[in-house]
Amino acid sequence: MGEAGIAILPLAPSARFSLRLAAAVVEIGEAGGFWLDIPINTCHVAGERMTVRLGPNEWLLFGPQADAIRHDVAATLGDRFFSLVDVGDRDLAFAVAGIHARDVINGGCPLDLDDIVFPAGSASRTLLGKAQIVLIRPGAERLYRIECGRSFALYVRAYLENIAHEFLRSPGSGILA
């Protein structure tokens, strides 16, 4: 996929949790395989589990099994004051990959996606057109994960496809292949 001009792919379902936690995360560090003490607007991948820090007291947690995540995180946080909400069916995700991925996303997203400003490991809540999204760049390759509300998915997909048509002549390009 790295050679492709542009590819837009729906991603498999995933468990997702929204974690709100007021306590000092420095002393907690890690909860059930999720690294909480990472800079705001970054992500951290550990095996099948991914942590995204959206703000000073807000995280998104991803992984394959909701029950296991709920158990592991709650066990670590114990009787601290926190909320852990299962939002696995609220959102769904697309992968946007290829050498034109950044151009296509920037067709509707105001973030500066230059490698210096948005390097591997970056993640942030932002906008795509009128829809709120969470944009995640797990690695150095040109592969971005877009999380959006389920009811916004058709809008987000159509928006990305519309811009991607500009780049379809690039070799290896495909939409929802």
């Binding site: 705001i40 703000g55 000073p56 105001p110 809540r125 932002t126 906008l127």
Partner: protein, 91 residues
């Protein structure tokens, strides 16, 4: 388009923000004992500064936090941005 300096996220597009108007407007501590004139001043009266003034912004499509900035209303330049601290932390 303004480039607004969020204290958590750095400079971001105005599209991601919601403006909360003039900052440092204290709610009367005892609304029941507050007269109509004072209440109207709290709700509606603003200083309409020409020059640098303090205002609130919410990074709604970002970190989700409120913060204060000082902006020059003539040039639209942002002078400073500060986190809003909770009462326990002090301000």
């Amino acid at each position: 388009m303004l480039l607004i300096p969020c204290p958590h996220c750095g400079p971001r597009s105005e599209l991601e923000f919601h403006c909360g108007g003039e900052a440092h407007i204290a709610r009367p501590t005892n609304p029941a004992a507050t007269g109509d004139q004072r209440w109207a001043e709290y709700l509606f009266y603003r200083s309409n500064t020409k020059g640098v003034h303090a205002e609130r912004w919410l990074h709604v499509h970002g970190c989700g936090r409120w913060f204060n900035v000082r902006r020059d209303t003539i040039s639209d330049r942002f002078v400073t941005a500060d986190q809003i601290r909770s009462a326990e932390e002090g301000s």
